[in-house]
Symmetry: C2
Subunit: 210 residues, 2 copies
């Protein structure tokens, strides 16, 4: 059943929903209450037909000639994305990148709260700006269980990534944002998104050097 629900909105459409949400927040901040599909699609950098198609996942709404109510659309999209309440997230692997992510305050603004940081070397030095301490890996299951954590940021070295990912899933995590430059093999019901900043730069570098 879970897998059927998953195929309902294509993954690329989910990313576009995030873009629409950001555009709508900017409109709202500028005191705009309704928006046409033309204006919203232009702001998001997609075609109007694409926008309309994406929004049909929410059923029929929007008033012909008037467009969409900004507040209503924000509520529907963030409800669907699960970001209308603060979601707990753990971060595992507090090296350079994990440390950088811990000091990044942007997640909370977007609906995610890093409630635990874990490393094989717990209690290591963090800068004064970092809000939380680093716990031992052995504390992971309890924290995940207590806070009903479903999402994790995985920042361990590539050699440890698969093993730690397996542990996270065993403890109840179902979605991983993987920063390690390896392809994780995990059960189908687990969602993995990969982010590799160095690889993004390398990719650009290729085009610079052409």
């Amino acid at each position: 059943m879970k897998k059927e629900a998953r195929t309902e909105i294509p993954r690329k459409a989910v990313y576009r929903l995030s873009v629409y949400l950001r555009c709508l927040h900017r409109l709202e901040n500028n005191g705009i209450h309704t928006v046409s599909s033309e204006v919203l699609s232009k702001a998001a950098g997609v075609k109007p037909t694409q926008l309309r198609k994406d929004l049909t996942y929410f059923g029929q709404f929007g008033t012909p000639g008037l467009g969409y109510e900004v507040k209503q659309l924000i509520g529907m999209i963030s409800g669907r994305l699960g970001t209308n309440s603060l979601q707990p997230v753990v971060i595992v692997g507090i090296g350079n990148l994990g440390r950088a992510l811990l000091s990044y305050r942007g997640f909370e603004r977007e609906g995610f709260e890093i409630i635990g940081a874990f490393d094989v070397k717990p209690g290591q030095y963090l800068s004064a700006e970092t809000p939380i301490g680093v716990q031992a890996m052995s504390a992971l299951p309890e924290v995940i269980n207590k806070h009903v954590v479903k999402m994790a940021l995985l920042c361990v070295p590539p050699t440890a990534a698969q093993e730690v990912a397996n542990q996270l899933i065993e403890y109840g995590v179902v979605a991983i944002l993987n920063f390690a430059p390896i392809v994780l093999s995990l059960p189908d019901e687990v969602t993995v998104n990969n982010v590799n900043l160095a690889m993004e730069l390398e990719n650009l570098s290729y085009f610079v050097n052409e």
Copy 2:
């Protein structure tokens, strides 16, 4: 001519080259000198046929029955990706994310050196761990020119992103790693990769909530 060269290796294949490169470095570190396409493709999480196809962009090589020489393949891939010498990169927009990226030491290890940080509020406080100071936007053209910078990390707010991107390109940047949640419209000869950590989390969140 530039555009023709660009279509030569598909963009997705360039990402896979980055993955292969990381696998090869791990093999090298483990003292392994030759690798079969089966072993390398498994480590990279791709099909052997895909790997072989990707490597044909470098022409014919590899010894049937023996496989590829690890060191040779590293040299060829990193040469093509332009990461066999340290590449200068600027970072523009030193808010939370820019600060986190500045304190992230992972780029240098991968062949990129952040040689300048710029913000509308220069000289702002950075933690003691941060290696370089923040300069005024007016210093951008000189730094880009002096160090022949082709790549930039764009971390300004979405409302400023398009304007700053235009400036960067005017000054000579041809590749942008964009962290702002908007779709930049830029000339075809400019390469843009988008990274949005909050959107990656939101995307996971959707699947968690299904």
